[in-house]
Symmetry: D2
Subunit: 402 residues, 4 copies
């Protein structure tokens, strides 16, 4: 549509699985004059942010706020707890799990990698089995991606905790919650996670540029013996300065104001309502995809993600070309594909500050783009999604906001 014009009119439909659309309230809270990051007004705001983020992770332990994107928080998790040569157990749920494993190698860790075909989440039984074999307890950490953004497969963290316990293994449990936090239920303390990695730019509805490590007492214990070098991502100074509302070095002042606002918005809606909304929108998307006769990358419903759905195109159809057509005609962006299946699928993000009407617009654009791109599909996916949403709205199960 924007063929000869430098301007694509109307609102862009940003259906990548994050960074997600930043609500105007959050953008405006960020669009404020800089304040002294060592003054009293800042300390008040920082304490509010530091306390608030705990309610999102559902933890009473400290949460580290990094001025860095999620990749930095991955690094923070590793360098603060481990030492060169340490074994870690990682599960190849997809591209991001693979990148995290590559990072571990860069830090001279020895990842053992449970392979998958990138079409399922992490299997607790496989983890348990693997740990049972580690009779010398050489594995120092189990690293799992809660919601694998690259594939739309989610993993059951509570079950993985149980698997580790069942194996009687002392390894730390590290969980990447980047594309689940603030969109799908995550319970740091209850599930016994030791280090969680979170990002601002997904369910927290902030621009990219901030990430998190939620800790456990055991993780803080591991810090003491960890020998990997660290400075920017070092927890100790951070925790110490945070106590009085400051940071050991200049933090992203304006982003902290945005974080306070976004946390407030999540609680205004009510976290359980937020999760139910994501579940509902995820199901609507899957109904459409199934009706079209296209294949969902995640091949087992028990791993379906509530925040992102990856869709395989039939052989001979280039998913990147499809995305280009959709962008050109319908002002919509999807997530790209990775790994062995690069070019074969695209991803619809349905997370963050979004709603039924937006997702229906996105699905309509998708169905129309499938036609324009000549991708074989059965019409009516949009109708199937609508039918589902009508039924979901007809029997509301909404709870009171907090």
């Amino acid at each position: 549509m924007a063929q000869n014009s430098s301007r694509a009119p109307g609102r862009h439909f940003l259906q990548i699985p994050g960074p997600t659309p930043v609500p105007d309230r959050v953008l405006r809270a960020i669009d404020m004059p800089i304040i002294d990051h060592r003054g009293p007004e800042f300390a008040k705001m920082a304490k509010k942010a530091l306390e608030g983020i705990k309610t999102i992770f559902k933890t009473s332990n400290p949460v580290i706020i990094y001025t860095a994107t999620g990749t930095g928080a991955w690094e923070g998790a590793l360098v603060n707890t481990l030492s060169p040569g340490d074994k870690v157990l990682m599960i190849e749920t997809g591209q991001f799990a693979t990148l995290w494993k590559k990072m571990a190698e860069k830090f001279d860790l020895q990842p053992e990698f449970i392979k998958t075909d990138w079409r399922v989440g992490a299997d607790p039984a496989a983890i348990e089995a693997h740990l049972r074999q580690d009779t010398g307890k050489e594995i120092k950490a189990v690293c799992v991606v809660h919601n694998e953004t690259s594939t739309g497969c989610a993993s059951d963290i509570a079950a993985i905790r149980k698997a580790i316990d069942a194996a009687g293994h002392p390894a730390l449990l590290m969980v990447d919650t980047i594309s689940s936090l603030g969109s799908a239920d995550y319970r740091h303390d209850e599930w016994g996670v030791d280090v969680a990695i979170g990002g601002a730019q997904k369910g927290l509805m902030l621009p990219p540029g901030m990430s998190f490590n939620a800790l456990s007492p055991k993780a803080l214990e591991a810090y003491k013996t960890s020998k990997l070098p660290k400075s920017f991502f070092d927890w100790a100074d951070m925790i110490n300065m945070n106590k009085v509302g400051f940071f050991p070095y200049t933090p992203a002042t304006l982003m902290l104001g945005g974080l306070v606002e976004s946390i407030g918005m999540l609680h205004e809606e009510g976290l359980d309502n937020v999760f139910a909304r994501h579940d509902r929108l995820g199901e609507a998307v899957r109904r459409a995809v199934k009706h079209w006769g296209l294949e969902i990358l995640c091949r087992d419903p028990k791993y379906y993600s509530s925040t992102v759905t990856a869709i395989l195109l039939p052989d001979g159809h280039d998913a990147d070309a499809f995305r280009g057509i959709a962008l050109e005609h319908f002002n919509i962006s999807y997530g790209a594909s990775f790994g062995a299946l690069a070019g074969k699928y695209f991803r619809i993000g349905h997370l963050g500050d979004t709603n039924d009407t937006t997702i229906m617009g996105a699905l309509a654009a998708t169905e129309m783009a499938l036609s324009l791109a000549g991708v074989p599909h059965k019409k009516g996916g949009v109708q199937a999604a609508m039918d589902y949403l009508v039924s979901a709205h007809a029997t509301p199960a909404r709870v009171a906001a907090e």
Copy 2:
């Protein structure tokens, strides 16, 4: 959906026929520090705005920029050209035409009102016939609403000009372009309009708070003999001060910056592309409505508006209740109904900074809300709209932007 929450997540679908969604670029251009409205920087900006707005009206005559909404510009048109007791010919195309007539009465003008059932636009033949009967040429102005926002019926201004000429009548032609300007073709000079009334908050994509009078030499001549009192809306001081880039009294400084930005955006896209986009989206909406088996208020396709479609609900169904359900579940606002048909129809605005994907989201929300509200309709309207849009996008007729 927002039953128990103070927050409706995601983007609101503002499908009222204006004020329309303000693009972020325009909002940010307005969100700027105040500058001295008598300083050199302001004069530069004001001249840019004053010249730019002429390109939207397609006129080489002066355009008056009021710090007032459209109602103020209606008043400006009347008080600057007419005298108490003057006869004016007005056409009852709907609510806004009726309000304009009431305003005329408040100013002691004598409106003659060509009645309609609010389901068609203005009929050039009826105007011609009426004027021919005015052998004393007592009618001083013919006042027409180009696009009646309350009904979704548009009128053919060029044909009305011809009708006036055919009647050999000297009356001024005044045209309300509030919900057409910047969305549907309007040619002030070519069509021989004497006073056009425009507003900022529709096709020009600005917040409400600014309106316009485009003039003709004949209108300026009429000013000289007009006896209605005027001050805030007086053209003379305005034209005089505008020549050097200033205003006779404090103007809405920030809105002028927004106006420069929005005019730039319309030209980036290309006015003809803008109009084609509105035509396409209007047709998509009508395809859906027709498929649903609902009645479009505008009963003659030749009057279909490209910017707003009014939809009648079947007897026994309250359109306001329907709007409430749609707002609650799908975060969407429609236009209300007026006059004899109040409560019987709702209006979908499809104008301003919008696009295919947004309108498809809105249509899906509408079809779902019809179900939730128990309004009888035939499913598949969304599909019909998609089918149309796919065909429209498959054969692009886009021209190069200016």
Copy 3:
């Protein structure tokens, strides 16, 4: 400084007596998506604005909110209460009083004008004397500018009320509070004012584009018999629709959000603290001017304005050239001069969202620009202002915010 550059670095010092610098909080509150101006969210906001603005005028009577600048509110005051041929008593305090008188003439009113040399406020004794002569009670309204922005002379409204009462005259009292409201004390009900005219862009810290009429029961009575034509500025529909949180025609939606924010900010600081701040800054400016040996236009201290100070340059020195030099070198704007003294003085605005440090920057820029422009003056004005402010801050008389 910006000689060869298109960019003047740093913050502009906007020392015109309004529009004043809009605080970021207010600008951001305006920089928000448009909402349906006939929906429930809007009604809530509008009621908040309509109730809030009463607390600023200190009235329990209705306040009309116009989408227009102050000139429009002047017109609203006249056309809603008076009839053609009515006599009104006006006092020539300066440029704006003169413009208001010209407007009265345009509406066929018969202003009687108490002359001044533009260097004092309105004299209650002269008003009383004038009214006593009007034995036929033909004068229907006394129109006074509370704070004459063009000269920096303020008038004592309470005393004028007493003068009218002493004369036993039934005329309405109309007061222009445009550059005093929200900066200097104004008590609509207590002082017995019938119609007050206010603007958004001064003490209320909003961008220009909104203005007010505060009413009295007597003014509402006068409305019933008033014969001047009115529509855009008509009170009746406005009051009626406002009751349910709506407006008879599209209002400036976003500005209303800004108004709610700015009223909140005034109360956060506390109105009495706001007034004390303006008094203090006004005195600081006058101390500097007096030390420089320049003449304050307002020649009687009892009329000194707390929001704007006009400063005469010595003969042979062009105030406009001086303003140009200050703008070029020090990125500061002053108010221009008017009337018989045009070119002979400039005005420093010290109102709205400002503080001691900003005003000291402005005074330093002024003293430096006097040097660069070769205007004879005694150095040390900035020092005199600092000495005063130090003493004022050393003995705080601040009250608790509301």
Copy 4:
């Protein structure tokens, strides 16, 4: 002044030496909808940012853009070029040099530290002498802070380059330009710097959250043999992906838009004009301080910084208490003090988007706060600064903007 109020009216004077006030144009450029960080629009913007930042460093070599604050870029410089056990020569110019040294130790480097009393910059002769003694060429890098933010002492980088060359030493030259870049002249290629560390939040006028490494071919060579582990800060993937306008992981999308805007603003003004402005404002501040009879921390004029001035208070006067009084009464923030002199001095930042009038306001606030705090000083510092600025403006030496 804000004793009993939650609101300090007017603009805050942020005179900390960074983060500096973000211009509205930059804040608004950041306050924009998120775009797909793997889409064509992003790639265009990223390339513009990546090319633009080179013009600020004056380099034709790659510049790495980190989503991290300056501390992260320090880490990037070390881990990409060095190996555990490497010796580095660092110069203790103040707090930040000391922190950088501590970081080096955390990475098992062996810093040799040339001590100072924190009241001078780095001495090229001392560096040369130190390097000459390193006959085994064990020192792998010389690390210097160009402008020590904690003390207001600047170092002559060109002279240090010559000193290294004179010693015939192959060590890399690493320079922290955090509080100089974009405010004081810095010539990466011409001065032969190997790794420069820059931050967004000072002369570049962005919010904190972005930092830079400018490289040299020699630095890229060192990368190949460097054995320190790295991932988030790793140059290789970054350079590779940047070539096509992308990043190896999600970057701070919105900040990149702000960077493009701020680079544009620096060139609009002209870099040489920017530097001259900083020189002028720095001198004005020093004139005031000297007149007050207070001591400038930097004890040798050849090291005076153009961006920040540290001011010692007389014995018995607590600089932090002074800062509190200034904040309370005059809405101004200064930089705090560090190290052995903590509590004894405060710092005035005069960098970034600022101008003469702002700095004069800040100096007036400072002189008034000195009085209120009972700090002995000779009145007239503000006058001395004004006298200097008048003379500077009377003989402009401005060059044409680029």
